[in-house]
Subunit: 210 residues, 2 copies
């Protein structure tokens, strides 16, 4: 009783299986063949659900974004600045959970329902603070860019720690470590740079308004 004309699983099941693989074996493991195998399916059966691997990846992005709580973003009892921090922090955390999320997010335009919902919440929040709509839209883009970039920097750094040998940086003859004294001196001063930078960005918006 192997084959059956009845649809045995859903698109959501496939996306879940893909995340399971991503979590346990990393991005290289989420392949069409790998996901299919983890569900007891043939690779070709996958194309009944998604027209391409990229379509699967984009569905994953949507699932990823669906877990961030937009309700908190529109809670007027909390200061807008705090709400942005919660939203941005949640997004960064989600993107950072799996090392491959960044390539997921770059697999296509962020035009899924949840991606648009997040953008909508950001614009609404900024206009609620008295920003003209045109500026609020640009502020939302800036915040998205900042969060994504921070996630990218995190991902890049982690990519180096996971492998040491054959993944090394180009050597460039390398005189001594003190060739970049300012950078060198700041490696320990990192702390929570993400929140700090976000606050500067928000300060910039406020200053503009004043």
């Amino acid at each position: 009783m192997r084959p059956g004309p009845r649809r045995s699983i859903s698109q959501a099941d496939i996306v879940d299986a893909a995340f399971e693989l991503l979590e346990q074996k990393g991005m290289p493991a989420v392949s069409v063949r790998g996901v299919a195998a983890s569900l007891g399916l043939t690779p070709t059966a996958m194309y009944t659900y998604f027209p391409s691997k990229n379509a699967l990846l984009r569905a994953m992005v949507e699932q990823l974004l669906s877990t961030i709580d937009l309700a908190a973003a529109s809670d007027a009892d909390i200061a807008w600045r705090d709400r942005v921090h919660v939203l941005a922090g949640a997004l960064l955390a989600r993107l950072g959970e799996h090392s491959g999320s960044l390539v997921l997010v770059t697999s296509g335009p962020l035009d899924g329902t949840h991606a648009l919902g997040l953008n909508e919440a950001l614009i609404a929040g900024f206009t609620g603070e008295g920003m003209p709509h045109a500026e609020a839209a640009r502020a939302a883009v800036a915040v998205r860019a900042y969060v994504l970039g921070a996630a990218a920097l995190d991902a890049a750094e982690r990519a180096g720690r996971e492998t040491s040998a054959d993944n090394a940086a180009p050597e460039a003859l390398w005189s001594d470590a003190a060739a970049f004294p300012l950078t060198e001196a700041s490696t320990d001063a990192a702390g929570d740079g993400f929140a700090w930078g976000l606050d500067r960005l928000l300060d910039g918006f406020e200053r503009r308004a004043a």
Copy 2:
């Protein structure tokens, strides 16, 4: 006279060939086998020059960053704000030239010579404006994050335009386009959002200093 014990090409030649392929056929074409073939080499010969494909990608990042002019960043005749714009703009442009640059930059920590040099120039510039070193370092990280994120958003958008059919966003039943009125209304108001956001970030730094 095919084989020869003498090294026929350099690492730089390989990186150049890889960029040539990237420009002409896109990221999927820059494979170990593809680059080797474009140089008349066997795939295995590549491992004489780079220990892995990732090492090649990281060398490409360094070459990419080497083309941005750090001298302009330390020219005290120009206002610091303008210098940041030039630096950030050049970086964004380089990252945007090839659609695959973003995955390049995420292939490992940005600890190559040119990556560190860029960071050094940023920190030096901010301290030159009277910022304490700890804050200058964090400001440099924030700027890098913002630029990288803007590049990621650009790349994501372009990834959608290149293919239309099998790369589509998940449908999600889709009632009507007016479900996200704020986002909808801002699609045309984009303009040069990059410079605007960067200016807000710099405003935030200044406000902090005041």
